[in-house]
């Protein structure tokens, strides 16, 4: 197990480096001069030149990269051009927000997607199956911003049930925090639920016709137990794997949802940073999300490992 873990980590390192090089290069190729945005409306040439020196933008790009990665290895991800805040501090501020949003959306996605997938597999070819599929597809094709704004207009403005937007840390007021995050999590969750539902359905379809499900029936177990215990337990592996990947995706950016609901998370940070050409912030976030992504992959493998006795006991 440990060896496995270490090997995975070893594989992850080149990937992360590759990502950082890739994103760094990509950023440098972006049109637009960050300093022009930074210098203010007046764009004083003197200030421009000073800033260019300060942020070492005159160095050759490989040197810039090496400087950055060197600092990154010591835990210094640079400072934001825009707000002068250290990137590490920004990330530390945003990460809990993003995690909370991701977790809550995932809960929605799971709560909707998995039961729907099970039911539609179990009732394959029936009206229930069709309805579940159409609903899942609509979750996929309804744009997040539309659903988001509609929810705000209805739930917050009209019925005044939930706060329209913003973020409250759970430490400050737990219930308010949950309430504020409810709508965005739902909006994000529905889109994921569709994917989850489709995968659950196909996994369950495969499992429901398996011999051991027949065995379970032959034992005289109730349908409920046959489906939820014997079948679902085996369909779980691909579902968990997918869930971990979705979670990784969520961390990488729920851009539009965060924008609509004004949630100060990673998605919003990275978009603003890209638009402002806030190189250090972009690079820092990409690095963190890449690590997150890889950690999620790792967790998916671990889940695989834990869910599959075949691997566990080897």
């Amino acid at each position: 197990m440990l060896a496995f873990f270490l090997r995975r980590v070893a594989i992850a390192i080149p990937t992360i480096l590759l990502i950082s090089v890739f994103v760094f290069a990509l950023q440098k190729l972006l049109p637009g001069d960050p300093l022009l945005v930074l210098a203010g409306e007046e764009r004083d040439p003197e200030v421009l030149e000073f800033l260019r020196e300060k942020y070492r933008l005159n160095d050759p790009i490989p040197i810039q990269y090496l400087t950055w990665i060197g600092n990154a290895l010591t835990g210094d991800l640079g400072t934001s051009f825009r707000t002068n805040q250290p990137v590490t501090q920004l990330i530390a501020q945003k990460l809990p927000v993003t995690l909370q949003l991701a977790v809550m959306s995932l809960i929605f996605a799971i709560a909707i997607g998995i039961p729907a997938g099970i039911v539609s597999a179990y009732r394959k070819g029936t009206v229930t199956d069709y309805i579940a599929n159409v609903v899942a597809l609509s979750g996929l094709s309804i744009p997040n911003f539309w659903l988001g704004i509609m929810l705000i207009l209805l739930v917050s403005v009209k019925w005044q049930l939930l706060p329209a937007s913003g973020y409250v840390p759970p430490g400050e007021d737990f219930w308010l925090s949950i309430k504020t995050m409810l709508m965005p999590a739902f909006v994000l969750g529905t889109a994921l639920a569709a994917t989850l539902m489709r995968h659950t359905r196909s996994a369950m379809l495969g499992v429901l016709t398996s011999d051991y499900v027949r065995t379970a029936r032959a034992k005289g177990l109730s349908e409920r137990k046959v489906v939820l215990k014997h079948a679902f337990r085996n369909a779980l592996t691909p579902i968990v794997t997918l869930t971990a990947l979705l979670f990784g995706e969520l961390i990488a950016g729920a851009v539009l949802t965060e924008q609509i609901f004004t949630i100060p998370g990673f998605g919003k940070l990275v978009v603003d940073a890209v638009f402002n050409r806030d190189y250090a912030v972009v690079q820092g976030i990409v690095l963190v999300t890449a690590v997150g992504f890889i950690v999620m992959n790792l967790l998916a493998d671990m889940a695989y490992f834990l869910l599959n006795p075949r691997l566990r006991s080897a």
Binding site: L30, P31, G32, D33, P34, L36, V37, L38, A39, G40, E41, E42, R43, D44, P45, E46, V47, F50, L51, K54, S80, R82, T83, N84, Q85, L90, Q93, K94, I149, I152, L153, S156, V157, Q160, P163, A164, S165, G166, Y167, Q259, I260, F261, T262, P264, K268, L269, D272, F275, N276, R277
Partner: protein
């Protein structure tokens, strides 16, 4: 009592010398006092400076400061502090205020609360500059200690002090008990929340999560006004929006609308129905314009009124320029929906005159870079506006102007605008600007299109809010009834 204000975006660094965003200035009005302030009619009035006199020759200004003012960290405010502030603005390497204060040669501290600003040349704009970020006073103690990191914990002398900031989430200020004008302040805390989406911003106000929002979208105006729990306040902006042409900035100036394209630019201007544009895109909330200031303002040159649309005249100009069969032009515009809408309307309008306009939408950073590098033909850009007319025009059209992206150069215009800087006589200045306008209306390096109207939507419980043409939110005298 807490006041919650929805902003359109997250401010940048909260250091008056380093910051550059409009929303940042909104926060400063509560956080940092300036030497002088303005009235809604753009008159300069005392704030931390109680009196000032400009010398006969215009080469210096004597100033008396308010006594008994302290910064949030307890450091007393006095002439030395003010001098330090001006010096920081001029010398801090990151300072974005250098050009604004370029005409101040030195500051003499003449007493505990008096000082003299020595100028390099007579400059009518200095006091107006001191009415904005260049005149904001920050604690010299804190400034020395924090250096360029001052923005992480800004210490000024305004009615509210800084409590915390979570990037992209909120900025919280609390009432400063020792504020010199504390009785005019009715809130214990004020929280600024950046909410970029206009619909969501309004929704937050409607749901009661906010007390006030800035920049209500023009198309939401009707809806907001229909809501009896909401009051809308408005003020015409000091800024403008228009189309800047590349007439001399690099190779791309060599195009039909460029260096020698005066006639085509006139044709384009004539073929736009500014009234309709304002009506279609902004529900008539904005003011059609053709000059740096809006028609109602003091410095508007009434001799050159907003042209009415004249397709025939435009066609004639096209023919005169040798493009009777039509002409192509590519215009870059920011990728926000308003600009896209404006461009599409203009596209349709100018098409009738035979101008075939293509729109290139760019995100802001790219557009800015292309514009300053001269890699564009025409560009839809705006300017947030300055209190002194000089700030709206000088740097754009004078030969070495700092942001003369157009590459326009005309000796007479240079002369007139420089002269307008050096006199303090308003009537004389008006005449000079009008004269410059006569040339610019002809040359059209910038085709002015409209002037925004600031719209604030407030909860009906908010009282005492005064709209200012600079778009700021001044909290003096504002209160919230229970």
């Amino acid at each position: 009592q807490d006041l919650r204000i929805g902003l359109q975006e997250d401010p940048d660094v909260l250091d008056p010398d380093q910051s550059r965003t409009f929303v940042g200035r909104i926060v400063y009005t509560a956080l940092c006092d300036k030497l002088v302030d303005i009235t809604p009619d753009l008159e300069i009035i005392p704030q931390l400076a109680t009196e000032w006199t400009v010398a006969e020759d215009g080469m210096s200004i004597d100033m008396t400061l308010r006594e008994g003012v302290v910064f949030h960290d307890g450091t007393p405010f006095n002439a030395q502090a003010a001098a330090d502030n001006i010096s920081r603005s001029q010398t801090l390497e990151e300072s974005r205020r250098k050009s604004e204060l370029a005409s101040i040669a030195s500051v003499e501290v003449t007493g505990d609360y008096t000082l003299t600003l020595n100028l390099t040349a007579p400059d009518a704009t200095v006091m107006a500059q001191l009415a904005d970020r260049a005149g904001m006073m920050i604690s010299p103690t804190a400034a020395t200690e924090a250096g360029t990191d001052f923005g992480a914990n800004p210490i000024c002398s305004g009615p509210f002090r800084f409590v915390e900031r979570i990037a992209q989430d909120r900025i919280v200020l609390e009432k400063f008990a020792d504020y010199w004008n504390a009785e005019a302040i009715n809130f214990d805390t004020v929280t600024y929340l950046p909410i970029p989406d206009t619909t969501v911003r309004l929704a937050n106000l409607q749901s009661g999560d906010l007390d006030m929002i800035e920049r209500l979208s023009a198309t939401d105006l009707a809806q907001a006004e229909a809501d009896e729990d909401i009051i809308v306040e408005r003020a015409t902006s000091l800024g403008y929006d228009g189309m800047t042409f590349n007439v001399g900035n690099g190779d791309r100036a060599d195009n039909p609308f460029g260096t020698d394209g005066k006639l085509l630019r006139q044709a384009l201007s004539l073929s736009i129905d500014r009234q309709a544009l304002s009506q279609v895109v902004f529900d008539g909330v904005t003011t059609p314009g053709n000059q740096q200031y809006s028609p109602g303002s003091n410095f508007y040159a009434a001799a050159y009124p907003v042209p009415t649309r004249d397709i025939e005249a435009a066609k004639a100009l096209l023919a005169e320029a040798g493009f009777a069969d039509g002409v192509d032009i590519e215009v870059q515009a920011p990728n926000d929906t308003d600009s896209q809408q404006v461009m599409q309307v203009i596209q349709a309008m100018v098409a009738e005159a035979g101008i075939n306009l293509t729109i290139t939408s760019k995100e802001f950073a790219t557009m800015l870079a292309d514009q300053s590098a001269g890699s564009y033909t025409a560009s839809l850009v705006g300017w947030s506006g300055r209190v002194d007319p000089d700030g709206n025009i000088h740097q754009f059209v004078t030969t070495d102007g700092g942001i003369n992206d157009s590459g326009y150069s005309n000796a007479e215009v240079d002369r007139l605008l420089n002269a307008a800087r050096q006199t303090n006589d308003t009537a004389e200045r008006k005449a000079l600007y009008a004269e410059a306008q006569s040339i610019l209306s002809e040359d059209l390096p910038i085709v002015y299109l409209w002037h925004d109207t600031w719209l604030w939507a407030l909860d009906s419980a908010i009282e005492g809010f005064v709209p200012y043409p600079d778009g700021m939110i001044r909290l003096k005298g504002v209160s919230k009834s229970e």
